[in-house]
């Protein structure tokens, strides 16, 4: 899962990014409104944390422009302004949730996970696929009720597949949602990571669809030739 954090206060931005990375997200940062707008427009994010008081272009107009050009990415708005007037303005611009400063870092993680889960069409906070379970509140995988050890990259890939289970996910899509902007993207690495994950959760769960990508499902028969 990959998120954009648009916050101009460097100290706060760094803390949010650090906490989100710990929670298993790939994080990009924007420090002003124009950069935020550009990144949101060109990169594939699963969610955005957007401060409304950004320099150069304020968060509200960034959000309005995204929505006007059809971006449906879930947006968590951060605002120092606690009046309902400002919150309503945020919702009218297309925000999906808001947090008033100051807030707990944990709260950002919880809200983001909920937003991503809802945007991918899941109603509960636990995603299940056969013996594999993802507890979204804790951000932990379990296999047959035992905690599953995964590296950060494996976690992101499996988490993305889990949210989109039953659908074919291409290598490019996976790379886009698993790496931040500064990482080297090599789709061969994806294959290596997928095979490592298969070793941990069992090959049966992840099918390779030739020429298209991968699909996570609890299909009884082993898929693919």
């Amino acid at each position: 899962m990959r998120v954009l954090v648009a916050e101009d206060e460097p100290n706060l931005a760094a803390r949010i990014a650090a906490r989100l990375t710990t929670a298993g997200f790939a994080v990009d940062m924007a420090h002003d409104g124009r950069q935020a707008h550009f990144l949101g427009d060109t990169e594939a994010y699963d969610a955005v944390v957007l401060d409304l008081g950004l320099p150069q272009q304020d968060g509200l107009s960034v959000l309005e422009q995204w929505r006007a050009s059809g971006h449906k990415v879930p947006v968590l708005v951060l605002t120092a302004r606690s009046r309902w007037h400002e919150k309503l303005a945020g919702f009218n611009a297309g925000a999906d949730d808001y947090l008033v400063k100051p807030f707990e870092m944990e709260e950002v993680v919880v809200r983001l996970r909920a937003l991503i889960r809802r945007s991918t069409g899941h109603a509960t906070s636990t995603l299940q696929c056969g013996p594999l379970r993802l507890d979204l509140n804790a951000g932990m995988f379990e296999l047959n009720d035992e905690p599953l050890e995964l590296t950060a990259q494996e976690h992101r890939i499996l988490s993305y597949l889990m949210h989109h289970q039953g659908k074919v996910v291409s290598r490019t899509e996976l790379a886009e949602h698993v790496y931040d902007r500064d990482s080297e993207r090599d789709s061969n690495v994806i294959d290596v990571l997928i095979s490592r994950i298969r070793r941990k959760v069992g090959a049966r769960l992840i099918a390779t669809i030739r020429g298209r990508g991968f699909m996570l499902s609890n299909a009884p028969a082993s898929a693919g030739p």
Binding site: L12, R15, W84, L88
Partner: protein, 445 residues
């Protein structure tokens, strides 16, 4: 103290009426007098010219008697006692006289011989007032001076004057009435721009428009410009105060977020201090950012509730809450939109936090009062705490941390508007918050 005149229009009309009431009688009187003089002068002139004709017609017959060569043309000299008489006399005796005199004499006064006639007014034996012109002349062939006299009846003159006066006053009354109507029309035409400005100010007061329209009259437009400048300043001052408060909050809150995130969870006491700071900022920001009651600012309740419900559905999307709103058409808050959003936002959000499935928003209008009730079907709060809440909004933050601050802010704002927040139990099972606010009597334009 002079008694206040009720309106500009009355003042103008009264002043014009006084002017008409004085000018018309004076003008009429003057005309009447001068016409009477003119009539009298022309009467005298006619008599004098008739006298000249009479003298010109008199001849001395070879017998030495005075005879009239031609009769005077006017038939009135032939009508008995018509008042129109003539006589020629000498030695105090009428020698010749008009037929109309019949058995009377026109008592002629013999004066000195003169080139111009003498004029006087007499009363004859029949009681008629006569104007007499007479002239004493020397005639060749007669030793004593001869007096020619001619008289006319003044009654005809007076009849003419009466006719004229009647016509004069009739036309003056008509003129006066016409003037009054013209004045009324003029005043209402002249005051129309002023009425327009008054209507405009009313619309600004109601909040229907922001500035006054120009009237197209130079004198008033200066005033309109001044008022618009004042209105602008007023708005700007409020906007500045609000954005200052919001900027201050922003400036304080971001570093506060950093401090808070840097603190370890073990430093429980320090965290509490940070939370206290946050609450103080929120509470004072709410009060500072409030517009407070201002004349003429009104906000319909329906759109605010609709926007809030849309927002709440997103915030609490996990819960699949059902919102039921019953907002009357005439439910208009006599106050600022942002303040209403703040009050209802806090109350509805609070209801959403506690509700199991349902949140209702209902309005009730009672004359000048707007009642908005927000109810939920959650667990509610104990009666003792409700009572505390009604007495002192401040107690909320201590009794129920987290949700309390919102209620305290609502209570503060409602009090600012002369309203109140009351809490009791809802028939749905949860809390019922009843917000009493001033209602606007006016419909929004």
């Amino acid at each position: 103290m002079p008694k206040a005149v009720s309106s500009l229009k009355t003042r103008l009309v009264l002043a014009a009426l006084a002017w008409v009431a004085v000018a018309i009688p004076i003008g009429g009187g003057g005309l009447m007098l001068s016409f009477r003089d003119t009539l009298a002068d022309s009467f005298d002139e006619r008599l004098t010219s008739l006298l000249g004709i009479l003298m010109g017609s008199a001849e001395i017959a070879p017998s030495g008697d005075i005879v009239l060569a031609r009769p005077l043309g006017d038939p009135r000299f032939e009508q008995v006692y018509s008042g129109w008489y003539w006589s020629i006399s000498h030695n105090q005796r009428n020698v010749l006289r008009s037929r109309s005199l019949w058995d009377q004499e026109l008592a002629a006064q013999t004066g000195p011989v003169s080139a111009t006639p003498r004029l006087r007014t007499v009363q004859d034996a029949l009681g008629k007032r006569l104007r007499v012109a007479e002239q004493t002349v020397d005639l060749p062939g007669i030793t004593v001076p001869v007096t020619f006299a001619i008289s006319g009846d003044l009654a005809s003159l007076q009849a003419d004057a009466r006719d004229f006066n009647r016509l004069l006053w009739l036309s003056l009354v008509a003129l006066g009435a016409g003037l009054v109507l013209a004045i009324l029309a003029q005043v209402s035409f002249g005051l129309r721009p002023l009425r327009k400005v008054t209507a405009n100010i009313e619309r600004v007061r109601m909040g229907a428009v922001q500035t006054l329209e120009a009237t197209g009259t130079r004198e008033l437009d200066t005033l309109v410009e001044e008022i618009n400048t004042l209105l602008d300043q007023n708005r700007n001052t409020l906007e500045r105060a609000r954005s200052n408060a919001a900027d201050l909050a922003h400036a304080l809150k971001t570093p506060l977020s950093v401090i808070r995130s840097a603190m370890s969870a073990e430093k429980r006491d320090d965290l509490l201090q940070v939370e206290a700071m946050q609450r103080i900022i929120d509470r004072h920001l709410a009060r500072a950012a409030s517009a407070g009651p201002r004349r003429g600012v009104t906000t319909p309740v329906q759109p605010v509730v609709a926007a809030l419900v849309r927002g709440m559905s997103k915030i609490h999307s996990e819960r699949a809450l059902v919102f039921e709103t019953q907002i009357e058409d005439g439910a208009i808050f006599a106050g600022d939109a942002e303040d209403l959003e703040e009050m209802l936002g806090n109350l509805i959000d609070n209801a959403c936090k506690w509700a199991r499935t349902r949140v209702t928003v209902t309005t009730r209008l009672q004359r000048q009062e707007l009642q908005i009730e927000i109810e939920d079907d959650g667990p509610g709060i104990p009666r003792e705490q409700q009572a505390l809440g009604i007495e002192r909004g401040q107690r909320f933050d201590e009794s129920t941390p987290g949700t309390g601050l919102g209620l305290a802010i609502v209570s503060d704002l409602a009090t600012l508007y002369g309203g109140a927040l009351a809490l009791d139990s809802s028939p749905l099972g949860g809390l019922r918050a009843r917000l009493q606010l001033p209602a606007s009597a006016a419909q929004p334009a």
